[in-house]
């Protein structure tokens, strides 16, 4: 059944969207008109330039409200997210103890030139993130966080050495799509070495979605706000499925 939707302001299907952007022109009446015309060109209706301000010589900043015209049939939308059973720290460790009779080995790193460890640390460090323990704290896991600026080769070497069940790869820097290139480089290395099927491969980062990760050849992708137990339960349940 069709389900047409539009952005919602305060009345169903009013289509209201707030936009903010900068135009490389000097502030003035002409700049404001330009903002209005530009948003009209984007196929909006009833464009209202709510705020315009000079933010530098030859640059003007705008806040604009406008009504969007297109409708979307929501029933045709397909998107996936990582499907996993919600389990906590104790349930996950119990499950490993009961089902595996060995520790689960996980190796994580921020690869390439990216120097940010915030993502991988949130998932792996003892402390964890948002009151949710990191994988290093799991008694039934051997979790190794290699930190940042790790080469794909070093990650693979460590993964083989530690007989890793899963690799966690984080990317924070997205300028000029550096993250896509780095994620791809690892996949290419694993395929060249014929080792892709050896590991569960998980991608993470502020601009990572599950769909993007799947498209790049990973098993799952985790975006901002992900807590460690979510990653842990994905790893454990997926490994379990693979065995059965």
């Amino acid at each position: 059944m069709k389900q047409n939707i539009k952005p919602y302001g305060d009345t169903i299907n009013d289509g209201i969207i707030q936009l903010s952007f900068t135009l490389p022109v000097e502030f003035g009446a002409k700049a404001k008109k330009a903002a209005e015309l530009y948003v009209l060109k984007l196929n909006f209706d009833q464009v209202s330039v709510a705020h315009a301000e000079k933010i530098a010589d030859d640059f003007t900043y705008f806040v604009v409200f406008a009504k969007a015209k297109p409708v979307l049939d929501y029933s045709t939308v397909v998107a996936s997210e990582v499907k996993t059973v919600e389990m906590d720290f104790y349930q996950i460790n119990d499950l490993i103890r009961k089902e595996f009779n060995r520790k689960i080995s996980v190796v994580g790193a921020t690869i390439g030139a990216d120097a940010h460890t915030v993502g991988i640390d949130a998932i792996m460090n003892m402390k964890g993130y948002n009151q949710d323990y990191g994988l290093e704290r799991y008694p039934e896991m051997n979790a190794l966080n290699m930190g940042a600026q790790v080469t794909c080769e070093d990650l693979l070497k460590e993964a083989l050495d530690k007989k890793a069940d899963a690799l966690l790869v984080s990317q924070t820097v997205t300028q000029k799509d550096a993250h896509i290139r780095n994620f791809t480089e690892l996949i290419e290395l694993l395929e060249a070495e014929n080792l892709r099927s050896h590991f569960l491969l998980l991608a993470g980062g502020p601009r990572v979605t599950h769909d993007l990760a799947i498209e790049l050849g990973y098993d799952a992708g985790f975006g901002p706000g992900t807590v460690p137990s979510r990653v842990a339960s994905f790893i454990v349940t997926t490994l379990l499925k693979g065995r059965k």
């Binding site: 530098a56 900043y61 120097a115």
Partner: protein, 519 residues
């Protein structure tokens, strides 16, 4: 300003322990040098430029000295000798050495006295250059006055120095007092300083002397237009701490990110290398009137900001002690800390005030570097903006020095022009409406904030005592800071550390040590 009642004896005690810790590291530092220290000597002597492959000449000359087996004596006497043999200036002599037209073994009856004299000339000339940057900056600051506290610090990070220039000027227009050009993400691990203007970088722009100059000129221009002096910041961290400090001094930079332990912990750079390099870099900063910015804020991105608060304070005290060893006065110590407590914790803001106020009182004359929230910023930019507002309030209330602007799109991308505008708008608003709040309030004697500050100070004292017993290097090995453990002989750059021979010569370093302009 409102103060928390703290025991002055305890403050003196923790400072004395920190000094002892720094002194034990200093005992090690004096017996060793590194490739990058020797390259810095060459830069201070006037060697610059790259060879045909793009390798900097200071690197090539030091490599040649290492190959010739003479580096342990210091590059200075050998380079002075090469100059006497070539009869040319510093730059041409370096080029001739690189092209093997002069070498270190060739001896045309150059006497030790001649070499000694030449070294003295080179070292004195280097000191003159450092003095010149000092007076150049003083003149500029007289022409365009410095802004009031806290100074608004904004980053630019497009990867292209010319684009950075546009971004920086717009930030100055919106109220920025300090511009930091974020470095390309892997530069800390390069064992050389890149050369020339650059237009390609990842997550930032390469720190090169040419880029420093381009931005300095742009900021001088913007400062004149806006009627206030705009400070320029870069990074003296990684494998080239002292070399970058020299380049920064040449181009009149005002601040450098410079931490005695950051590279060890967060970039896995060898700890001996870092301690040796930071010492010379700070000697240069003391002479060139450059404020160092230390990196304690980073501890809290990996550790919990409440549990690990004392490690921040302890590190500030150690950074202060090491800075004192290098002759830096308090006014050049931008000791770092951060507003990183989980916003879900009840009264998180009171904890933040306690930590910020403690830092203020422990280092009353230092321009404290206060970092905005990053760890708990979500991709909801509107909520992120709220977090920054509270951060701005804590900063102005506790009279912080160097206020790093929180950016609402922190968790999304490197800032857009309009993100900086929003950020500065928020700061300008809060700093104005709460300008004298700190002078109006009093902290309750036995209230939450006072008790919390006391707890952190007590934990700091206990922690410092443990470090003193074990030694700083061993404490780092055991993961005492930021929960990160680094082996003493591990990490990058270890190969570039060497023991000085008994006749090691480095007269410019001696002059830097013995002629502190801040005494």
């Amino acid at each position: 300003m409102a103060t928390i009642p703290l025991d002055q004896n305890q403050i003196e005690r923790v400072k004395a322990i920190a000094l002892e810790i720094a002194e034990s590291v200093q005992e090690y530092i004096v017996n060793y040098s590194s490739d990058s220290v020797e390259r810095t000597v060459l830069r201070l002597y006037g060697v610059d430029g790259v060879n045909e492959d793009g390798t900097p000449l200071p690197n090539r000359v030091v490599e040649k000295a290492r190959e010739a087996g003479i580096l342990e004596h210091g590059i200075s006497p050998w380079f002075a000798k090469a100059m006497l043999i070539s009869g040319r200036d510093e730059q041409v002599t370096a080029e001739l050495l690189e092209q093997d037209q002069v070498d270190f073994s060739f001896d045309k009856n150059v006497t030790p006295a001649d070499i000694h004299q030449k070294e003295g000339e080179l070292a004195n000339k280097a000191m003159e250059v450092l003095k010149a940057t000092n007076s150049a900056k003083r003149e500029k600051r007289e022409k365009t006055p410095l802004p009031p506290n806290p100074w608004r610090y904004i980053i630019v990070a497009t990867g292209n120095i010319y684009e950075d220039r546009t971004q920086a000027k717009s930030a100055v227009f919106s109220g920025a007092d300090i511009i930091a050009v974020i470095r390309s993400t892997a530069q800390s691990l390069l064992d050389y300083v890149p050369y020339g203007p650059t237009t390609e970088g990842f997550g930032g722009t390469y720190a090169t002397q040419a880029n420093f100059r381009i931005m300095r000129d742009a900021l001088d221009e913007a400062g004149l237009e806006q009627g206030r002096y705009i400070r320029l910041v870069n990074y003296s961290s990684g494998l080239c701490m002292a070399e970058i400090a020299a380049c920064a001094a040449f181009e009149d930079l005002d601040m450098l990110l410079n931490d005695s332990m950051y590279g060890i912990l967060f970039r896995d750079i060898n700890m001996k290398r870092t301690f040796i390099d930071q010492y010379l870099s700070r000697l240069i900063c003391a002479h060139a009137d450059i404020i160092i910015n230390t990196g304690e804020d980073n501890y809290l991105t990996t550790s919990d900001a409440v549990e690990a608060a004392h490690t921040v304070t302890a590190s500030q005290l150690i950074n202060e002690a090491m800075a004192l060893k290098a002759g830096l006065p308090a006014r050049l110590m931008g000791l770092g800390h951060a507003f990183e407590i989980n916003p879900k914790i009840e009264n998180a803001f009171l904890y933040e005030l306690a930590h910020a106020q403690l830092a203020r009182q422990l280092f009353p004359d230092a321009p404290l570097k206060y970092m905005p929230p990053t760890k708990y910023k979500s991709t909801d930019i509107f909520h992120a903006h709220c977090l920054d507002t509270m951060f701005n309030l804590a900063s102005v209330t506790t009279d912080q020095g160097i206020h790093l602007a929180g950016i609402l799109t922190e968790a999304n991308h490197t800032p857009l022009m309009q993100d900086r505008f929003q950020s500065l708008g928020n700061i300008n608003y809060v700093f104005n409406v709460a300008k004298d709040l700190g002078d109006e309030i009093e902290f309750k004697q036995d209230g939450f904030i006072a008790k919390r500050a006391q707890t952190v100070l007590d934990e700091t004292e206990a922690f410092l005592n443990r470090i003193r017993e074990k030694g700083l290097m061993e404490s780092i090995t055991e993961g005492g800071f930021a929960g990160i453990s680094r082996p003493i002989d591990g990490g990058k750059g270890h190969g570039g550390v060497f023991a000085k021979s008994s006749d090691y010569s480095n007269p410019v370093m001696q002059l830097l040590e013995n002629n502190n302009p801040n005494k």
